[in-house]
Symmetry: C2
């Protein structure tokens, strides 16, 4: 395919992970999502649960609080475990990009691979009611307030992205294709992205 790599960024609950899986199936390439967590664990020595919890989420909804917490009290020149994890992820993603074609979901891959010309960068978003229903019915979130869970997750992704890239998460100009899965449907989003990756 012309775009050897497809990056999929997504709002929580939008079905971006399913879009990624379907695009990868249609292109016949691996989809790095949870599989990447195991690769990172293997190479970095970090626990899978630590990577899942901290590999693309700030632990605070505030970017400033996250910045201060990650670096506050650290000796000058030393790296926090969060920074070490980001660097490990960064290195694995850039190494994979040198070697093979794939679809990758999240993990700032759009930013990490932004200077390559063989990537198609996409973003999946959706309405709040669509996402609220999905996280309860399909992801099994146990909550009385799914809207709050959505706000919290997306704010923590946003804070993480801003901390490590200096950019605004979800700014249209960083993506070639941005689609509303609640309007278009997960399957149609995947079909279009796969088509565009092959041109």
């Amino acid at each position: 395919m012309s775009s050897r790599i497809v990056t999929i960024s997504r709002q929580y609950g939008s079905g971006g992970r399913d879009v990624g899986r379907l695009v990868a199936e249609q292109l016949g390439v691996p989809c790095y999502d949870k599989e990447l967590v195991f690769k990172i664990a293997e190479k970095s020595g970090f626990d899978v649960s630590f990577i899942q919890e901290n590999g693309e989420y700030a632990f605070s909804r505030s970017s400033l609080l996250f910045d201060l917490s990650v670096h506050g009290g650290m000796p000058a020149g030393s790296l926090s475990v969060y920074d070490q994890l980001y660097i490990a992820q960064h290195n694995i993603i850039t190494e994979l990009a040198e070697k093979e074609s794939f679809v990758i979901v999240g993990r700032c891959a759009d930013y990490i691979l932004k200077d390559r010309t063989d990537c198609l960068h996409t973003f999946i978003h959706a309405s709040v009611p669509f996402r609220a229903r999905r996280i309860v019915e399909e992801y099994g979130e146990k909550t009385d307030n799914p809207e709050k869970v959505l706000r919290d997750r997306d704010s923590r992704r946003q804070a993480y992205y801003r901390h490590y890239t200096g950019k605004v998460w979800g700014a249209m100009k960083n993506y070639h294709i941005c689609l509303d899965s609640s309007r278009l449907g997960v399957e149609r989003c995947a079909k279009f992205i796969a088509e565009m990756a092959q041109i």
Copy 2:
């Protein structure tokens, strides 16, 4: 078609107008762009040149300056000519939406028609080099600094949009489909939008 109306918002030079024309051709419906200016002129009594200059551009790049200039010195309760023009455009667009299917380019139509469920809202953006080349070679802009022309036009569209809608122009969440025409090509953007409008 399921989406009776397609709104196309666009960065200056991105080819959004061409996308609109092609989508309308594929759907067999009118494309309201310059044609709308004549309709507005006919109904409102404003000059065509006044509508073209002020129908979607603030005369300042600063939203605040535009706000102050439009309303500064106006007696309480009275409307500036800019407000009158916005209201005329608003009324014509909502009246058309009641009567017929169409594609419409710009003019805050995404916001004006946001509560209808039969609209597909789209945004076309593109890289600066692609747009700079297009405005000189295809739109015939006479300038030594096309990048400055792009910044100026988009800032004035942004200020206008913020003034009349209270929203951020080009925020992904307001659109079902956002496409980078410099990566995907104008024809492919149009083809996908037309397909999605028919579903």
